[in-house]
Symmetry: C2
Subunit: 160 residues, 2 copies
DNA sequence: ACAGATGGTTTGTGTAGCACCAACTATTTA
DNA sequence: TAAATAGTTGGTGCTACACAAACCATCTGT
């Protein structure tokens, strides 16, 4: 306060991201429930829409979720016919996961239904700002290291 | 694909927020552990820094966390001397929670230590973009409805 | 052709974060 | 003085995971 010259603020987004994500999730749950979806289903569908079809392993990498749990997640989505598992032609061990048309539509519907939740959480931002926020989040998401396990190796160099 | 004219995309940020928050959290955990902190501690400290001191109840509202769990969270932070509970003078039932100087410093250190994690997760964004992202998140966070319980009442008007 | 690695599935088991309930104290308000 | 409120404690239960083991189908290297 005393005319601090060394007021160096770190400006890390992590905590804020989590803070807002939680708020959004709490509101989303009740909106999504009638659609038979849960927040994490939405995340998976979104990833699939952004990145296109991919193997289950790649999806697990992108969601940074254990492979065995991805199985269950996809079982949900597949029985709801929002997602399709095809055998990969060039490696028949692999399952290629892709959004069905129904899934694409449903994802859009769900997002549409979330308007209220977003209005609530992002109330302090005007439409243009929400748009740039969306773009930034979208680009950040797509740019991530598909496989995180290797990224976690870079950790040790945490110095200040 | 067929020259779709009605390609109306909903652009909701919720899923992306959660997606990135998870990535960030997974990386943060290992970085924060040596500091004796967990992601949710960081969130609480951040809220306290942004909004200033507040009652435990208000903090619970802001974090949208059950009151009883906030007690435990604050116990952690208080025994680590990052946070202080003072009796409110004008209502001695209330505890006014505030960051200690040590807590402020520690929060900054932690954020600094998270540089690597953020670099990793936001790799696709250049520094200027990360900065605007931070600003947007920060403003969205501060603008939220301190008490969410009333905000959840506005839910029913979810139409499309 | 065979061995070993790999992608996916199933079935556990464990843990952490959280909501929720009940009971209690200290304090305020009606 | 009675009822409401802020916080605390202790307990229960649920959900989302991680992780391990065992298994099949398939691929790859020798």
């Amino acid at each position: 306060m005393t005319a601090g010259p060394a007021e160096h603020r770190e400006r890390r987004s992590g905590a804020l991201l989590e803070f807002l994500a939680r708020r959004m999730r709490l509101r989303s749950e009740s909106v999504l429930a009638p659609l038979g979806l849960r927040p994490r289903h939405l995340v998976a569908l979104t990833v699939l829409r952004e990145a296109g079809e991919m193997s289950q392993q790649a999806l697990a990498g992108s969601l940074q979720l254990d492979g065995t749990n991805v199985v269950g997640l996809l079982n949900d989505l597949e029985t709801a016919e929002l997602v399709e598992r095809r055998r990969s032609p060039e490696d028949r061990r692999r399952h290629v996961v892709s959004l069905t048309e129904h899934g694409t539509r449903r994802l859009n519907e769900a997002e549409c239904a979330l308007a209220g939740a977003e209005d609530d959480v992002l109330a302090a931002l005007d439409p243009a700002e929400r748009d740039t926020l969306y773009d930034l989040l979208r680009r950040a998401s797509s740019g991530g290291p598909a496989t995180c396990t290797e990224a976690i190796r870079d950790n040790p160099d945490v110095l200040c």
